[in-house]
């Protein structure tokens, strides 16, 4: 399905999927960190491709990103994005160190964040899989630290968001112990939208 042809009802239903996935992911992240993690209500939006890089701080904003392609009955991608300061704060949380201890983004910090993103993504997907009774698996997570625009552009092109609109289901996570503010983007492949909407009963 072309994302541009989605109705309000369908977008709301997809937002609900995101909301449930996000709830599970926040619980998993809280358990992993031993700290409370809050989420905001996910933002589900349909954006022209040209505007995708304008989301979340603008295209030249430097961010760490963990990208997983989805395998199984629903294809698409999950992308976890953290600005640099939040990435270092998350690494401190994961190492049980004083906030502000991690000063640079090394291999160790990168590894920790990839692990955390993997947990987050698995929890999110497990919720979607249960809701839709579909098998959805995350592919191997891959890390990049670069301009947000380039990362989002690559992801939208690579997974087949080849229409001129992309559907983004965005969740923001906020840890309250020290501030870690990240976003998870769920980008369903247009071909998988029909399957997903069918399972939700809003074709």
């Amino acid at each position: 399905m072309d994302p541009r042809h989605l109705t309000e009802l369908q977008i709301d239903a997809l937002g609900e999927v995101g909301s449930i996935g996000a709830g599970h992911a926040a619980t998993a992240l809280s358990q992993l960190l031993g700290a409370s993690v809050e989420i905001n209500v996910p933002d589900t939006r349909l954006l022209p491709v040209s505007e995708v890089p304008m989301v979340f701080g603008g295209p030249e904003n430097l961010v760490g990103a963990v990208y997983s392609r989805l395998l199984g009955d629903l294809s698409g991608a999950l992308l976890f994005v953290l600005p640099r300061a939040d990435l270092l704060a998350l690494a401190d949380l994961l190492r049980s160190r004083e906030p502000g201890s991690s000063k640079s983004l090394g291999v160790a910090e990168e590894g920790l964040v990839v692990h955390a993103a993997g947990v987050l993504q698995s929890a999110y997907l497990a919720a979607i899989a249960r809701l839709t009774e579909l098998a959805v698996l995350p592919g191997p997570p891959q890390f990049a630290f670069d301009m947000l625009g380039g990362i989002l552009e690559f992801v939208t092109a690579e997974i087949g968001m080849k229409a001129d609109s992309a559907l983004l289901i965005v969740t923001r996570f906020l840890s309250t112990e020290i501030v870690v503010d990240g976003a998870l983007f769920y980008l369903p492949d247009p071909d998988s939208l029909d399957v997903l909407l069918g399972r939700l009963g809003v074709v």
Binding site: D2, N40, V41, D43, R45, V49, S50, E51, V52, P53, M54, V55, F56, G57, G58, P59, E60, N61, L62, Y67, Q142, F143, A144, F145, D146, M147, L148, G149, G150, I151, L152, E153, F154, V155, A157, E158, G160, K162, A163, D164, S165, V170, R172, D181, A183, P190
Partner: protein, 172 residues
């Protein structure tokens, strides 16, 4: 509750002489304008410059050809459509012999290239094919790799400035 767009503020600092090119779009301008496209990932930025007229244009190409998709949308996101269209707009039907091209982008942002060429790699191939078909010399390029680039075309000198987090500022 903050929505996503409230988080970030704006990007770059465009002034009245900056012409911004978004993903999948093309733009044409004359000196003293500067044409900019931010954060090329797998996309390829293509600039054309006419030294005599100090006029030029830029395309931000996302995919090689329309055969990549059956969904319609911005036609200028395809190299095979955007480049001839850009040439047409820069020359406005007059001679294209004065044009020179420079390109940047086409990277693989995650992981490495293995097996079949990535979208970035195929974008580079198609862009070069289109320039060759139109007999426009490709005088400089900064392509491939695994990093994002911002590309600027200065229409007074034809200088192309490529900025990246990893390699800083390069002049093409």
């Amino acid at each position: 509750m903050a929505s996503v767009t409230e988080i970030g503020g704006h990007w770059a600092d465009p002034d009245e002489n900056t012409v911004l090119v978004a993903t999948g779009e093309i733009a044409v301008a004359e000196h003293p304008k500067v044409i900019v496209t931010p954060a090329l990932g797998s996309c390829v930025g293509v600039t054309l410059w006419d030294a005599f007229a100090r006029r030029g244009g830029m395309a931000h190409v996302m995919l090689p050809t329309p055969s990549e998709t059956r969904l319609d949308g911005l036609v200028n996101r395809f190299a095979s459509i955007a480049i001839p269209a850009l040439v047409e707009e820069v020359t406005q039907g007059s001679t294209i012999r004065r044009l020179v091209a420079k390109i940047a982008g086409g990277s693989v942002m995650f992981g490495s290239e293995n097996g079949a060429p990535s979208i970035g790699g195929r974008n580079i191939i198609e862009v070069k094919r289109q320039l060759a078909l139109l007999r426009i010399p490709l005088v400089a390029e900064d392509t491939g790799g695994a990093h994002a680039r911002t590309m600027e075309l200065h229409l007074d000198t034809g200088l192309v400035v490529v900025r990246s987090y990893r390699y800083g500022i390069k002049d093409l």
